[in-house]
Symmetry: C2
Subunit: 518 residues, 2 copies
């Protein structure tokens, strides 16, 4: 298997090739690649002692931390699967994840929602995690021989990875829960091979180089931040972690660590620009897409294809992040671009035939960065991966110049903040309220969140007095708070098309709009 | 197999995504990606009709042509293996290749050396090749229905590639003969997966973008030119072909096609600069490494990592081209740099143990771009690929900063022009001369060729009068002309170390030097 390259292999090579490069910065923590490699080896040993073996799952419930990257790399070293889950979910949603994932080890940050589910053996982020890691036998930090962190290993501290192990880079290593088309979240499984392939596509389009420093300022349970974290690892750059987005802290870290790129979009960029309104932080290391006069003046406008005109493209968790890039289609009309160099894309009709250019069909993909299916969901996997192609569930169109335009989800989706909200899931919760006879959910434009959820509700004949607040609180108590209705309209009846709500009519009557791709 | 990506798949996607982009320019020939795709489909059909099936070999004997790329892509479509061989070899060397490769189809350019070997069914480059291709049933060009080149296919002319085929991207698709460590050339087999991986590593380091235009001005039977041809294909750029290097023609093509990069090095660059001494050609599209004041003034100095300081790194055919890049090690002391993002490198002692930083060992590699072994040479393959690592046969050293310095070949090699010459091969031929009792070969520095071959010869006691010209001609008639001695010294005895020549003593006595890595 001379062709193998797992995430663990990538780290091992960096430990050899970049002994002096800072891999990770997180508060007081600063680790070179050999130091990170030695910690990952110890962590893998500690997890193995806990019973984690190839194929087993490890769960992270918490905010951003270098521990997320360490756990992913340790999982790769063991052939296990790491899942950073959305800690902002409700207790019920977290219970579903625990049941579905059945993790052999859980590392968590104290939180109200997770506390009722806590197992005796859960590892608490911070000191608890350090104690757990120090118990591993892979290197220093309490080991009997006092070896100072593998630095005495002439090969660069790669520990007992002799290169003769049988790691499989096509086995899943990362599980990311994706939003619920059918009302139940599903964990998309991504292999080392897919993640490495996606990373190099980002290296190509973002023109990442040695010295690239990424500030993980978005949540790592989303592919949007994770994909840049991994691409930064791939090129041997520096990953800086901050627990969650805070405009002032972003300014401080960009200056202190000479950050090249941070996970920022839309309103977050404005907040950072405002926080640095007096220019007291030097943000010039940040190479970013042009955004506003104030922002462009304090940062460096980047000329890579990723940033050259409009940033981005089309993607989803199931393709490892990005499937198409605007940067590969200079001058493209639509908001999608051209495929990454490592994938193929076809626009198919419901019978699996390629539709002519100019017509809308489902965006289907194959190639190196694609996922391996969903955990525990053979039917859903079979529904999405058919005839050798992944069916994204999104609609698109080839233009005459071959570029792809993202039209919108095949099933209706609301985009609130950076979160996907599926009406079906919220409607199901609404209908569990005793006073609700029927309900439909639409998205309405919002200055801060791009869209927010609006519920259109029919009350039962025998219902007592029910307020909009009652309805919203009913949802908030059961699923993630960003899914709760910010607006509620009470109506006599929901317009229908067959058995499903007539969403176009509801949008027209209740101010809906701003849907992704629209 | 949603993760598959063969070279044929790359072409099929470009035909969809880049219908208006010029894929190929070669004299009067200009092909868009859909046109190239349609021709490749027809060519594959014609080859299949000739009996070429998965695993079979197709041989090219000729100078550069777009047909080289077409044959490689058609081989990929069929699961076959394409070999562009060195047409500058002697009849005897070509006979060895024919015997070793046992090709099912040969496309050739009329040449003195190949003529005696010609088979009845050999396809002559040019009109013969066009007639052969037109006989394929994959599209237009003589097909009964008069379909104009697949352009009526709404999917972009991908012909009957439904995406449901069972192509294996880990199967060999390209065979490149490498120089003879043991006196016999061996064909390194490279898969689509390896070639695609190598291409993206070049995309990353060279920061290739849409619109990249590469002039294939070096021989395509060498990985040095082929790797840029394939990277240009990968990013959907334009490949321009010229039969062989000619300074004036390079100037003309750079201006006419707005070439971004050409295969030029050392003396070739000076010749191009001289040919454009009066500045009558606009070469400003060429983005190149800084070379000389005259050159820098007529081209654009490129700032990508590939060109930023010194160009290059360390590589060989068996790793797909480049293994390490100077561009990934800004400020590196030695001439090698750091590994591509898709490989691992270890410096091993003869027992397979990693040597400490600062010590010399054999450069060993594993990862996505590596070859699959040698055709018909299981012993050689087993000798080179051991314990999961490819042993390059080259010596290197890790520096304290983790960068790799290429020290030189484990076995002595002469670099003449861009060609590798192994003393053992030339010595073997010398010793077949009836007047030669013993011989050794060294490299001596040369202004034009970097090194040329010098033979140190002991004549037999009963030898008649023999001149240096006699000796050189004896070699020239039997192996490639660049291997012939340009200098001959007659001596009484060859100094030995055990059974082998004492090359250091020979170098000292006869002006040897300039060896790669020295």
């Amino acid at each position: 298997m001379i062709h193998r390259l797992t995430l663990s292999d990538v780290l091992a090579e960096h430990a050899r090739s970049r002994p002096l490069v800072t891999a990770v910065v997180d508060g007081e923590v600063r680790l070179t690649y050999p130091e990170l490699d030695a910690r990952v080896t110890r962590l893998a040993d500690a997890l193995a002692a806990r019973g984690v073996a190839a194929g087993d799952r490890v769960l992270w419930l918490g905010r951003n931390s270098h521990a997320v990257l360490e756990l992913l790399l340790a999982a790769s070293r063991l052939g296990a699967v790491f899942c950073p889950a959305n800690w902002r979910q409700s207790t019920g949603e977290l219970a579903f994840v625990l049941d579905d994932l059945a993790p052999k080890a859980v590392v968590w940050e104290e939180s109200e929602a997770a506390a009722p589910l806590r197992g005796d053996d859960w590892i608490l982020m911070g000191a608890g995690y350090e104690t757990f890691l120090a118990g591993g036998s892979g290197g220093s930090g309490g080991s009997a021989d006092g070896d100072p962190g593998g630095t005495s290993d002439p090969g660069g501290g790669t520990g007992d990875d002799t290169g003769d192990d049988t790691g499989d880079d096509t086995a899943p290593v990362l599980a990311l829960y994706t939003a619920a088309f059918d009302g139940r979240p599903a964990a998309a499984l991504l292999s080392s091979a897919a993640l490495v392939a996606h990373s190099v596509s980002l290296l190509v389009v973002r023109q990442m180089e040695p010295g690239f420093t990424f500030l993980n300022s978005g949540p790592l349970f989303h592919v949007g931040t994770m994909m840049f974290c991994l691409a930064t690892l791939q090129i041997g750059g520096t990953n800086v972690f901050t627990p969650a987005f805070d405009a002032e802290e972003v300014c401080r870290l960009v200056e202190a660590e000479k950050v090249t790129q941070a996970f920022l979009f839309g309103r977050m960029i404005d907040e950072v620009a405002e926080a640095n309104g007096d220019g007291r932080y030097d943000l010039s290391s940040l190479r970013f897409v042009s955004h506003s006069a104030a922002w462009d003046a304090m940062t460096t406008v980047d000329d890579s294809p990723w940033c050259r005109s409009k940033m981005g493209g089309y993607g989803q968790t199931e393709v490892g992040g990005m499937l198409t890039f605007l940067g590969l289609a200079p001058g493209a009309a639509g908001p999608a671009g051209r495929p990454s160099p490592l994938v193929q894309v076809r626009i198919l009709d419901p019978d699996g035939r390629e539709v002519p250019a100019g017509e809308v069909g489902e965006i289907c993909a194959r190639g190196r960065s694609l996922f391996s299916g969903y955990l525990n969901r053979p039917e859903l996997t079979a529904a999405r991966i058919r005839d050798g192609w992944h069916h994204t569930g999104d609609l698109g169109r080839r233009e005459a110049d071959g570029t792809i335009t993202f039209v919108g989800p095949r099933l209706r989706m609301i985009k609130s903040g950076n979160e996907n909200v599926y009406p079906a899931e919220v409607e199901r919760v609404l209908k569990t309220h005793p006073a609700v006879a029927d309900a439909a959910v639409i998205g309405v434009p919002d200055d801060r969140w791009h869209q927010v959820v609006k519920a259109v509700v029919v009350l039962a004949d025998d219902a007592g007095p029910v307020t909009a607040e009652d309805v919203a609180e009913h949802v908030r108590a059961r699923i993630a708070s960003y899914k709760r209705p910010r607006h509620v309209a009470f109506v006599e009846a929901i317009p229908k098309k067959g058995f499903t709500p007539d969403y176009d009519a509801l949008d027209a009557a209740h101010g809906g709009g701003g849907y992704p791709g629209g």
